[in-house]
Symmetry: C2
Subunit: 233 residues, 2 copies
């Protein structure tokens, strides 16, 4: 019964936008179902930290997770967010190294923990899976490279505009057109790599210009083309 349930939830993950598990055979999915552990994490829980040895990777079933590195003076640099269908913590397994990022729950999250050996075995025995996982890593790599370019060349204002566009595209909006992700000003600043005060000033400038609407942590994009222009897109 429990296994059946697990199996069903794997299906629900597989239905997500990504295709990582699409090429798995029934017995491979069975094996995952039998060996995974599903757990619920509250907001602000730390899932893993820089330096941890990972025994497995996580598949996000529900919620939002922030993945970050700790830099100078402990200041966090947000690298990416993970949402349902994404996997996290796989890098250290593939590389067989300690984690080089930490991850924290932003919104109550359900994670499936899948043992490292299963990932490695699948890569070795299922070529299609290997390709799909590689595609996923390459996608992350491409995004990281783009971000290096942005952060090195664009002004803070441009980066803030771009981040708003990305958050909009990645998480969508709710019924009131507010972004479906809630971040503190400090977290926003830890994405673009700037001071909190700068983010606040830039957001309020965007608001004054009628590009966005603010109410607490809720952000509503009014003028996407205007933001895109500022972002240089």
């Amino acid at each position: 019964m429990i296994n059946d349930q697990s199996h069903i939830s794997c299906d629900s993950c597989m239905a997500s936008s990504h295709h990582l598990f699409h090429h798995l055979k029934d017995e491979e999915i069975q094996e995952i179902s039998l060996n995974k552990i599903t757990e619920t994490y509250k907001r602000a829980s730390i899932i893993y930290q820089e330096g941890n040895r990972m025994k497995g990777f996580f598949c996000v079933q529900k919620g939002i997770v922030k993945i970050y590195k700790t830099g100078i003076d402990g200041k966090e640099q947000i690298i990416r967010f993970a949402q349902p269908g994404d996997i996290i913590g796989y890098r250290s397994i593939v590389s067989n190294e300690p984690a080089c990022t930490s991850s924290e729950v932003l919104e109550e999250t359900i994670l499936c923990h899948i043992p490292a050996e299963i990932l490695l075995k699948l890569v070795k025995t299922n070529g299609d899976f290997a390709i799909e996982l590689m595609k996923l890593i390459c996608k992350e790599l491409g995004e990281a490279n783009s971000y290096i370019c942005d952060i090195a060349q664009k002004t803070v204002k441009g980066r803030v505009a771009e981040i708003l566009i990305h958050l909009n595209d990645d998480f969508g909006v709710d019924k009131d057109n507010n972004l479906n992700i809630s971040l503190t000003r400090e977290e926003l600043s830890n994405i673009v790599g700037t001071a909190t005060e700068s983010i606040i000033r830039i957001l309020s400038e965007f608001k004054t210009k009628g590009l966005i609407e603010l109410s607490g942590r809720k952000i509503k994009i009014l003028e996407k083309p205007g933001l895109k222009f500022i972002a240089g897109l």
Copy 2:
């Protein structure tokens, strides 16, 4: 005869620091040898450009290649360098997308061009190769993430110091202790993401402080610990 030569040169690549090809069977190496094209590229040659559809990837046998993206107003952002044993252009093959970087020869380079299908076939049929390639991609990803953190949080001076350390570690020094890679001031600025004038000023400051010695494009590191301190390492 030609094939025999090709085979030998594959061996020489396999002997390099990386292990990507270590797990290949003899017949797999044979297939690469039979299908690869080895070519010499002069300094300043463009190997491929952003947007190109890649028919294969390249294995660097000799020389140094600069890999970069073109950002705002055509300003180049250097992403990484490739040297003997490294492979380039594989990302677009795995992702089945146009190239998102360009690459240019810095020092006369010999490249082996290996058809895309061979890479994909190897990933699908040789699990150990798949893992090794994945490790390599993950290494690049890890480095990219670190660099995001650096560029977002460190001052230009800190980044310059760090780059000097990295160039030293990656390329080593010649008999006179000069860095084994020769870059224009503009290229240096395109790594750290700053203005050429800033690089010049910072280098000359390092020189005044006795941290480095300069003569044209030659850079000699005198005080590695001092640089590491400035870099925050």
